[in-house]
Amino acid sequence: MTEKALHVLLVEDNAGDARLLREMFSKEKVESFHLTHYLRMSDAETHLAKGGVDIVLLDMGLPDAHGIETVRRARAAAPNVPMIVLTGLEDEALAAEAMKEGAQDYLIKGQIESRALPRALRHAIERHRMQVETDLVRILQLQLKDEFLSHVSHELRSPLTSIYSFSSIIADGLAGQTSPQQDEYLQIILKNVSQLQAMIEDLIMVMQAQTGKLSVELLQTSVADAIVYAVDTLRRAAAAKDITVTFRPSKTLRLAYADPTRLRQILTILLDNAIKFTPTGGAVHIGAQSFEDDPTFLRVEVSDTGRGISSKAAERIFDRLYQVSDNGEAGRNGLGLGLYIAQDLVARQGGRIWVRSELQQGSHFSFIVPVFSLEGLIAPILAHEQKPGEAIAVLSVEITSRVNSQAVPSEILSLARSLLQQCLRPDTDLLLPNLNAASEHMLFYVIAYTQQQGAEVIERRILSQLRRNGQLQPADFTIAVSHSFLDPISRDANESMKTFIGQVAAGIQDHIGKQSFQERS
């Protein structure tokens, strides 16, 4: 089998180095290598874009690109072409960085053996090929898992839908009059449909978490709202067992930085559990306060007067599929995924969950989630180096429905949010989470480190991006985008970053209006 000639692209501006390397190749068989040589990054980029290159030999100090930038640009021009970087003796740290950016190997100039070079090239190409294959296999596996998930979801839900639809049609008397006894039995069927459905939901959720499809969107959000939602959802279940559920929100409770949907899920799981394991006539109490050990977290506690958990069981209670063994008193328990899911969701929001319990003394489940802090949010964009003329711009984007002053549906709200996100530069712009926790009013704020011109560019980008979407047309919504700059805050060398961040945060708060940052009473 004859080997195909390798097309090597050499990017090197130093004439001496380039000559040495060329000579190494000239000792090889003419048909095994085809060498192209450029002095500048820009020419190399043009050449790479045409395709056909098998490997790049890249010097990291070029007239028009330097250091790690050379690697990034070469990768951008040809993401799938393996690359070996050429560095000086003192630059091994830089070489390591280049490897992190995707270079396959590095060679130190002046230490390259002529026979080692072709071998290094072939090895780099082979390693790259294997890496691509491994990535491909992993992607395929995830795709398969995903397809399976989709299939399971659909196939389990279809028969369940039929059972639900027709039992409820009979129960509602749409297929003739039913006897009281028939009604009672139909309610049992419907209750079981609910249980099955909840189990399917849990299964899908766990599988989605495993394929990385479980999304968590952190926002400024009210824990109290999530608790009220969960209590509302399970009101009937509690009433059926004559269990009193109490929740007294503290007036000074701060907003959390969490995903409102996921918070509601966690609370629904904990409350459902508490009701399930508390005997008739018992009590469940929910509390929410600042976390005693760390005021940057909120702690939520769900306590019951149930039979409690042994310390041995408490250790394993958040494990997947774990179920506390019982004497049949609680009936069927489901899949044993609830607390596992709760733990996973808490962890994904930067929190922690634990249980304190003794047998026959009831259980106290606690979890913590971070308190919302504007400082924490803006810190990353302020770390960006300030250029002359740059300042902090606050852009406001207001979307109002034209239809009967109706509230904007939450779907449109999250659609607008994801469209806005696409308009921003990752390092210097920040879309603030919804400042009014439960509002259907669409007012978004973007903080951008930019100049006057830059702010105008972002404004135009936002407007056209939103209008391009079929659901945000002028007939249905008005969109107003505007910007202004914060008063300049001097950032002298002696001042700590923390003070600076604090001042900027205060500036933004003043700008937007302090009331937006406080919990509604």
Binding site: I169, Q208, S215
Partner: protein, 139 residues
């Protein structure tokens, strides 16, 4: 007041039958299509006030139906509710981006389905906003 017409697009005859019973009793006129191609033809023929669309369909899945509806000047005016047994993420987002006004997961609670339908048709007594996050469970 004339009856509002709803086009149900679903390949499962059991779903069509149960929705037929449920919607008739609530005073809606119901027409059907069992696949992607028929759904566009039926939409043109009947010009319904609302379309309830399943995602898994023969002859062009629900997304391509949605695309074709939204690409047509007249048909794009008809509100579409996607009702599917598929996983919520990412289908919900796709459906909404493609122009559906709501994504409901099967099995859909009857009261909820009716509330979303009334909301979509702009009928009175539909104060409930179209918010379905956790809420698609049957209670």
């Amino acid at each position: 007041m004339s009856q509002k017409k709803i086009l149900i697009v679903d390949d499962d005859p059991e779903v069509r039958l149960s929705l037929h019973v449920r919607l008739k009793v609530n005073n809606y006129d119901v027409v059907f299509a069992g696949d992607g191609v028929a759904s566009i033809a039926e939409a043109r023929k009947h010009m319904p006030d609302l379309i309830i669309l399943d995602l898994g369909l023969p002859a062009g899945d629900g997304f391509s139906v949605l695309e074709r509806l939204k690409a047509n000047v007249i048909l794009s005016m008809i509100p579409v509710i996607v009702v599917s047994g598929r996983v919520r993420i990412p289908n919900r987002e796709w459906a909404l981006k493609a122009g559906a006004i709501a994504f409901l997961q099967k099995p859909v609670d009857n009261a909820r389905l009716l509330s979303v339908i009334r909301h979509a048709l702009g009928e009175k007594g539909s104060s409930e906003p179209v918010v379905y996050e956790l809420g698609d469970t049957v209670n």
